[in-house]
Every structure is written in C-alpha cells, then in structure tokens.
C-alpha cells in the first residue's frame, strides 16, 4: 500500500487529507498522480497538476519522477508559508 497525504489548500480543495492506494502497477509518483486523477472528479487534475504543487516521498521533498514502493508515504502540498 501507498499512504497518500494532502495538506492545507490542497487538502481543502480535494476535501480529503489522507488516502491509501494499493501499489499495483504504480512505479513512480507520476503513475500514482495519474491514477488519483482518473479515479476522482475533474477538479483533482487541476489541483494535483498545478505548477507549484510540492511532492514529498517519505517526508523528503522530491518530484514526480521519484520511484515508489509499498509502504511509502507520498505527500502533495502547496508552497510552505511557515516561519
């Protein structure tokens, strides 16, 4: 399984903070994102494909080419605004 988490504006726009997905044929974050978009309404494409979405794999900032395997956690979030 892959654990998928969303934060802040993205979490609100998708209406969900956490999902899981079986690993199946998913090899990269791009595969996972494509599947999430296919499985949900059109707005998911807009939100998850936005230019400034940050992707973290296992709590380390990464990008859509990152390989994933069962047990990984993939996060999608907007640019950070702490401090």
């Amino acid at each position: 399984m892959i654990n998928i988490v969303f934060f802040a504006r993205i979490r609100e726009q998708l209406g969900v903070g956490q999902l899981t997905s079986p690993i199946n044929q998913l090899k990269t974050v791009a595969d996972l994102r494509r599947q999430l978009i296919e499985e949900h309404e059109a707005s998911w494409s807009e939100v998850l494909m936005a230019q400034n979405v940050v992707i973290a794999v296992n709590q380390v900032v990464s990008d859509e080419t990152a390989e994933i395997s069962s047990g990984d956690e993939v996060a999608f979030y907007p640019p950070v605004t702490g401090g």
Binding site: A8, A56, A75, G82, G83
Partner: protein, 153 residues
C-alpha cells in the same frame, strides 16, 4: 566542536530569555547568541488579521527543521542551535517562531540564524491560514522568500 541542536514543534508559547540562557549555559566559549523571534502581525496584505491557524505535516516537520540546522552546523563553526515553531491557533502579537544560534564570534551566529530562517520559510512544511473580516484565507508563499534563499547557493 560540540554543537547541540534542539528542535521543538508545539502549540505552547516559549520564553526567549530562557531559550537564550540555555544556548549559552555552561559554555564559556560562547561569545555571541543571535535570536530571531517571529510574531503574528495584525495586518497582512492590507487586511486585518484576527487569528492565524498554523497547519503542519507532523511526520515531516521536525525532521525537515533538523536537516536545516545540521546544514548550518556543517557550514559554520557554531556552539548551539535551538529552534521552536508553534502550530495551531494563534492571535496577533503571539510569538510564532524562535531561532537561536550560539557561536564564538558574532558573524557566524548572524549568518547561520539568517540561513536557518530563509530555509525554514521556504522548506519546512507549515501553512498559515488567516482569519480576516472577509473570511479565512490561506497565506500565499512570497517570491521574496525564494529570492532570500537563492543567496546561499
């Protein structure tokens, strides 16, 4: 040289005097401490802010901040780093963040403290949502924070 790192992410407020004292306590080679304290302002982008909600990514936040502190420790000759970042609901004038750096001489402490703040602002997974008279809104990331980051390349 030993440079302990302490990172706390919590709802509780902090005491700048206490944190400063801890940084220097029993370290007679410390000649300089530089502290940064960030506060909730009552106005942002021209709108009155009545409250701030700070969301974070709990599994990642402390590790992400520790990584920044470790980078600073590798770049400069430091004697201690303490970082506190609050989360949850805050009001105007509340303290949000504390970054304290101890070193022998002042240049290292100033530089490392600025470096940590620039990285924290652009890398650590926190998000601010403001309450304004026109409703709640997510704070947008600022281009100038990315510009500030670029000077460390």
């Amino acid at each position: 040289m030993d440079c302990p790192i302490s990172v706390k992410v919590c709802e509780d407020d902090f005491d700048v005097g206490h944190e400063t004292a801890v940084l220097q306590h029993a370290k007679p080679d410390v000649g300089a401490v530089v502290n940064f304290v960030g506060y909730v302002r009552n106005i942002n982008d021209g709108e009155t802010v009545s409250a701030l909600e700070l969301e974070h990514y709990p599994a990642m936040t402390e590790k992400s901040i520790s990584d920044i502190a470790i980078q600073a420790r590798e770049k400069w000759d430091l004697l201690g780093i303490q970082i506190i970042h609050r989360v949850g609901r805050l009001a105007p004038e509340d303290q949000i963040v504390y970054v304290g750096v101890a070193s022998k001489h002042r240049l290292e402490a100033f530089t490392a403290c600025e470096f940590i703040m620039d990285y924290l602002k652009t890398q650590a997974p926190f998000w601010k949502k403001e309450s304004t008279p026109n409703g709640d809104r997510w704070v947008d990331a600022r281009e100038k924070d990315n510009t500030a980051l670029a000077r460390w390349d």
